[in-house]
């Protein structure tokens, strides 16, 4: 009964109601689209950055993250990988060795990060093989091959097929030296990696650096980042008593996490301002409507409507208005997001920032339950809470005083 009456009351002033609905709907539309856009961009950033090299998680020797050292190794990596791959959400793992070494070509020498990788497993955790611009990526037959970042190759003045010298310190303190042939040159999209990174076959690395079968870390990945994050609590018990620790993507890429959080928090302040403005507009209109109808409320109280019910009716009017506006806004927001999600959105002038985070030139918003519900949900909550004000005002009305109102 109250809902029906509240609904009819809403349409006493159709133009006013429509304006309010449009205000709420527009704010909801903007929030659905912008949140979807942000979430889509963050997801692309994470996927692009993490899939290049880090993976969604890593198993590392204890303390390795803070102080990487060739001597910090995982002894039983095969057993750990087998166990990890049984957990739901994890698709595959890949072992790595990693160190810094001198790469030389004639008189040119450059300090570089050298990774030892199992090519067959590596292509399942990293997209570096898809970033090859000259030559080919490593494969299982390779022995003395190496792939390099494009900027590193330029610094060394090498091309595919050239040889270069590797010089470093082995696990046992011996000198690690080798002559490797450049098999491929990659351009990952991340300038830092292209300047510093090189990869060679794991077995050759272990031989050169006297590591036997030891590895420095295990990269963990899965079909989705969320799936791997969900799997982390199940992975922890498998690693107990092995002197290793599990690192999630946030620990592997704290800069990326901080950048996302900063951007999100800045946006949240903007969203909050928008919600506050819209809520005040709606509240102002409703209070005006309450003032206009004070006499009528007096009549309703006179004929026996309880003050609480009258307050609930006003609160329902506000709620119905909010619900209508939010549903329209969410619907339009989804349509706009899906359309732009299909064609993508180009933001000219932002290429430098995009490449820093591995973003493509065209960005695609992604609809999710969170992006659909977070903004409109916050708005609904604020509007419902704001409804307490007219509710309280109406509850305090005295029938005779209200009926005397002009």
């Amino acid at each position: 009964m109250l809902a029906g009456l509240a609904w009819r009351n809403l349409w006493r002033q159709p133009r006013r109601t429509l304006l309010n609905v449009i205000s709420i709907a527009f704010a909801a539309l903007i929030m659905v689209f912008l949140l979807s856009f942000q979430m889509g961009t963050y997801a692309t950033m994470k996927e692009n950055v993490l899939q290049v090299i880090d993976g969604y998680a890593q198993v590392q020797p204890t303390g390795y993250q803070d102080s990487p050292d060739l001597k910090k190794t995982i002894a039983d990596s095969d057993a750990i990988m087998k166990q990890i791959e049984t957990v739901t959400g994890v698709a595959t793992t890949a072992p790595r060795t990693t160190t810094f070494a001198i790469l030389s070509n004639g008189e040119k020498s450059v300090g570089a990060a050298v990774l030892g990788v199992d090519p067959e497993r590596e292509v399942r955790v990293s997209r570096l093989n898809r970033s090859i611009i000259h030559g080919n990526y490593l494969d299982r037959e390779d022995s003395n091959a190496i792939v390099l970042g494009a900027a590193l190759a330029r610094s060394l003045g090498v091309e595919v097929g050239d040889s270069l010298t590797l010089l470093g310190e082995g696990l046992d303190g011996s000198i690690a030296a080798d002559v490797l042939t450049v098999k491929g040159i990659f351009e990952s999209g991340t300038p830092e990696l292209d300047r510093q990174l090189s990869e060679m076959p794991l077995a050759r690395f272990q031989e050169d650096f006297a590591m036997d079968a030891a590895v420095n870390l295990i990269v963990v990945t899965g079909p989705t980042l969320a799936g791997v994050l969900d799997a982390l609590p199940d992975l922890e018990p498998l690693l107990n008593d092995r002197e290793v620790e599990l690192k999630s993507w946030k620990q592997l890429q704290p800069g990326l996490d901080a950048a996302i959080n900063l951007d999100l928090n800045t946006s949240l302040m903007w969203y909050a301002s928008m919600v506050i403005v819209v809520v005040f507009i709606i509240l102002n209109t409703l209070l005006m409507s309450v003032l206009e109808r004070t006499r009528e409320f007096g009549v309703l109280l006179s004929i026996g409507m309880r003050p609480g019910k009258l307050g609930v009716m006003i609160w329902m009017e506000l709620s119905l208005l909010a619900l209508l506006g939010l549903l329209v806004g969410i619907g339009l927001g989804c349509v706009v997001t899906l359309l732009i999600g299909h064609y993508g959105l180009e933001l000219p002038g932002a290429e430098a920032i995009f490449s820093q985070w591995g973003l493509p030139g065209r960005l695609y918003p992604r609809l999710s339950l969170l992006s659909i519900s977070a903004g409109p949900g916050a708005m609904a909550l604020c509007i419902f809470l704001a409804g307490i004000l007219p509710y309280r005002r109406v509850r305090r009305l005295q029938p005779v005083d209200a009926m005397r109102a002009a």
Partner: protein
């Protein structure tokens, strides 16, 4: 006849700035079941105040109202709302129907507040609108009805809950002569048929002529209280 309403030493004072206005000065009066009573008096004599206090819309400064055996003095706002809903019917000068509801829905609204089921509500509103001569106009909204028709809906609404008393404040003030006559004839008929007590505050001599008992208030006191022979 049994007493349905008793006013005991009703006093009402208002404060307007530094001035105290004595709207009612110890009014003692009783009303019997089935009476049709008019209360008249000059402006400011306390008619509306008395009606408001009887209708539990205002609290007296002193004194008490006993309605159908219930003292209204110490009831909460919620309980007073329930008393108004179940025991008192109101007819206002300006009709005061809910503009977004149809004639039938305005009558049913009271019954909805009482929790009466849909079928019973429909039957009761149909019966009342027929009684007040508005058959066929059930689905019209107040804006689509004349003043006289709106006041008839208001009367039907006032009777919907089978109240102990109906309070009418200047019910004919906004009506022309023809509609006033029709409304008074209707109220007299309903008073006799339903045996409901009707108390009307009025300036209108026609209304006074329709009632058997007439109370005149002056300066918040009862000046005369006369009952004519049947």
């Amino acid at each position: 006849m049994s007493t349905i309403l008793e006013c005991k030493h009703l006093t009402k004072q208002y404060h307007q700035g530094d001035t105290t206005v004595n709207a009612l000065q110890g009014v003692d009066v009783s009303f019997n079941k089935g009476e049709f009573v008019s209360i008249s008096g000059p402006s400011g004599s306390g008619k509306s105040t008395l009606l408001h206090i009887i209708g539990s819309l205002e609290q007296p400064t002193d004194g008490d109202v006993i309605l159908d055996g219930i003292s209204l003095r110490n009831e909460s706002r919620r309980e007073l709302a329930d008393i108004r809903l179940n025991r008192i019917g109101f007819v206002f000068q300006a009709y005061n129907l809910i503009p977004v509801l149809t004639a039938a829905e305005n009558v049913e609204f009271i019954l909805q507040l009482q929790g009466v089921d849909r079928q019973a509500r429909r039957a009761r509103s149909g019966e009342l609108l027929k009684q007040v001569g508005l058959e066929g106009l059930e689905n019209r909204r107040p804006g689509q009805l004349s003043g006289g028709q709106q006041q008839r809906v208001a009367v039907a609404r006032a009777l919907a809950s089978h109240p102990a008393i109906v309070l009418a404040d200047e019910p004919t003030a906004n009506l022309d002569s023809k509609n006033s006559d029709e409304l008074l004839a209707l109220m007299s008929k309903l008073n006799q048929e339903s045996n409901v007590t009707i108390i009307v505050a009025t300036h209108d001599p026609k209304v006074i002529a329709h009632t058997r008992r007439h109370i005149v208030l002056t300066d918040g006191n009862i000046e005369t209280d006369e009952t004519r022979a049947a």
